[in-house]
């Protein structure tokens, strides 16, 4: 197995009496989609938040691209190449879709503190941003105010922004949440192509999407990883069936 790009080691986080993460150890290697599944409130998002730097772990370590990032803030981790999307879309609503992506492009170029030259006349900036919108099939919505986009389009826009960061790893927190079947199918196809660019740590409730995409699945219950393996192994795992998937198999979950 190749050296993991991202690795958490015994990550633990408590909120008062609630153990949100209990010694979570997982990794992400190049080219894969590693799905993190579990019932509501199991602590999936808490793991994403700790890896992204939104909340600080109580103990344990996080290694990314060969260095310990456990004490870095969100900005520094993003600059190292961690691209994250949110469970509830987080965009700049007054900006156009294109401007939202431009922010990410100018960040990667490390050219934010330019005060006099108009950004809209910067063709390279615009073209790069546009190319990411094209990948998410949003190019004809580029000039729409992001706040006016449909729910599904906002989800896709967040992924376009993440893509623009040219990341070394994606952290996607329920990208399919609230999407209709048609959009979900489109997104599955897009994510499928994304893994070759950078591996994806995917939190998702849509079990069809998870089993269609994941190379590996980890199941988290009460903050603890109870099983980890290929989709086949997870499907066959008795403990997982009892705790989460239900007796009738994965179809009844989600």
């Amino acid at each position: 197995m190749p050296e993991p790009i991202l690795q958490t080691e015994k990550l633990s986080k408590r909120f008062g009496a609630v153990v949100a993460s209990d010694a979570v150890t997982l990794d992400l290697v190049a080219g894969e989609i590693h799905a993190l599944i579990g019932p509501n409130g199991a602590g999936k998002s808490t793991v994403i938040k700790q890896v992204a730097g939104e909340i600080r772990q109580d103990s344990g370590s996080i290694r990314f691209a060969g260095r310990d990032i456990g004490r870095l803030d969100m900005v520094a981790r993003a600059r190292l190449g961690l691209a994250r999307t949110f469970q509830v879309s987080s965009i700049a609503p007054e900006f156009s879709a294109l401007q939202n992506v431009m922010l990410a492009v100018q960040s990667v170029e490390r050219k934010t503190f330019r005060f006099l030259k108009p950004a809209r006349s910067d063709t390279s900036l615009k073209e790069q941003a546009m190319s990411h919108l094209v990948r998410l099939l949003l190019d004809d919505r580029a000039e729409i105010r992001a706040g006016d986009l449909s729910h599904g389009e906002k989800r896709a826009l967040e992924i376009a922004i993440a893509l623009a960061l040219r990341p070394k790893a994606f952290l996607l927190d329920e990208p399919m949440a609230g999407m209709g079947p048609e959009n979900t199918a489109k997104l599955i196809e897009i994510l499928d192509g994304l893994r070759t660019e950078a591996p994806i740590l995917l939190v998702e409730h849509d079990m069809d999407a998870v089993f269609a995409l994941a190379d590996r699945i980890s199941v988290i219950v009460y903050g603890r990883i109870i099983a980890s393996g290929t989709p086949e192994q997870i499907r066959a795992n008795e403990e997982v069936r009892r705790a989460y998937l239900g007796d009738e198999g994965h179809d009844g979950a989600a």
């Binding site: 803030d73 969100m74 520094a76 949110f86 987080s90 934010t112 330019r114 809209r120």
Partner: protein
């Protein structure tokens, strides 16, 4: 040309025409009022960068405005009294040259904005308002209790400072200086708002988490904007001191901070000519309604409430036919 651009041009032309007419009809007071509009409009244009573009509701901009004023007053009074500012380690004399006073005022208010901003921007919302207010009040009480430069009584500047090639004692000449600086500041604000930095600042205002997630520090972006904003207010303060030939702690008081904010809100936040229009409206109301009743501020208050409730784009927003933010 869109409607807002046309209105902006009209305001710029109107502000230029007023003192010329005042001169033609021998009403020098009109020139003074127009100069005051240009200077306060400049202070408001500065605040608009923090408040409008950056979403930082600062109730402490009087600190920068007043510091700029005190820089002008202190430098000029030393020069006029032939007393050096320092003798050791090296001799520093006062000056009455605006071209020296302005950069000093800009640097001093910029440093103050850097310190106050760096501490205040660790908070948001109402805490940010209160902490900027608290810092400004600290500067205010410091000025009151420091007797060397007049303390509570303030500091007089006997002769208006000089600008090469112009006679600053001629009200029209001094107006021209202030007007050009106002237009330059508005032009700079326009470029800033359209730039990559402007994009990041808008991102920080709308959704700081989004900005951090793409690897741009909202703190650094906001702090930079806050410093630029404070510098403009400081320059305006230096001009204001020269207009009145007087500096006093009242320039530093929270009342001044509130007034600058009123200009911005009256005219319309994030409208390039909003602060200038707001300052003009305020001063016209002060000098018309103010003559009728000393309770004119009551009416101003009602106007403000109406604007905030029904026309968030301020006066410019109403004239441009948009009552929402652009």
């Amino acid at each position: 040309m869109n409607r807002e651009a046309a209105i902006s041009l009209l305001i710029a032309a109107g502000l230029l025409a007023a003192p010329l007419l005042g001169n033609a009809f021998d009403e020098p007071f009109v020139i003074t009022l127009a100069t005051k509009v240009a200077i306060l409009g400049l202070a408001g244009t500065g605040l608009n960068i923090a408040l409008g573009y950056g979403g930082m509701v600062s109730l402490g901009h009087a600190a920068f405005f007043g510091l700029g004023g005190y820089v002008a007053g202190i430098l000029a009074s030393h020069a006029l009294n032939y007393e050096p500012l320092f003798t050791a380690p090296l001799l520093v004399e006062g000056t009455t040259q605006m071209l020296i006073i302005w950069p000093v005022a800009i640097v001093v208010s910029g440093v103050a904005a850097l310190v106050i901003g760096a501490l205040s921007l660790r908070t948001t919302g109402v805490f940010f308002i209160m902490i900027t207010l608290a810092f400004a009040q600290m500067v205010y009480y410091f000025a009151i209790s420091w007797p060397a430069y007049g303390g509570e009584d303030g500091l007089s500047i006997y002769i208006r400072s000089e600008f090469p090639g112009l006679n600053t004692l001629n009200p029209l000449h001094f107006f021209a200086i202030c007007y050009v600086l106002l237009i330059l500041a508005i032009g700079f604000s326009f470029l800033l708002s359209q730039s990559r930095f402007g994009l990041a600042l808008g991102g920080a205002r709308q959704n700081a988490q989004r900005l951090a997630t793409v690897g741009i520090s909202p703190f650094r972006v906001k702090l930079t904007a806050f410093v630029i904003s404070g510098m403009m207010a400081g320059l305006a303060g230096a001009l204001y001191a020269d207009l009145n030939r007087f500096v006093s702690p009242s320039m530093l008081s929270w009342h001044t901070s509130g007034e600058i904010m009123v200009f911005v809100i009256l005219g319309g936040t994030r409208r390039l000519f909003g602060p200038a229009a707001g300052a003009a409206l305020y001063i016209v109301l002060e000098n018309t309604l103010g003559d009728v009743s000393e309770h004119w501020l009551l009416l101003l208050g009602a106007l403000l409430v109406a604007l905030v409730l029904f026309a968030r784009g301020g006066v410019i927003g109403i004239l441009a036919g948009q009552t929402r933010h652009a």
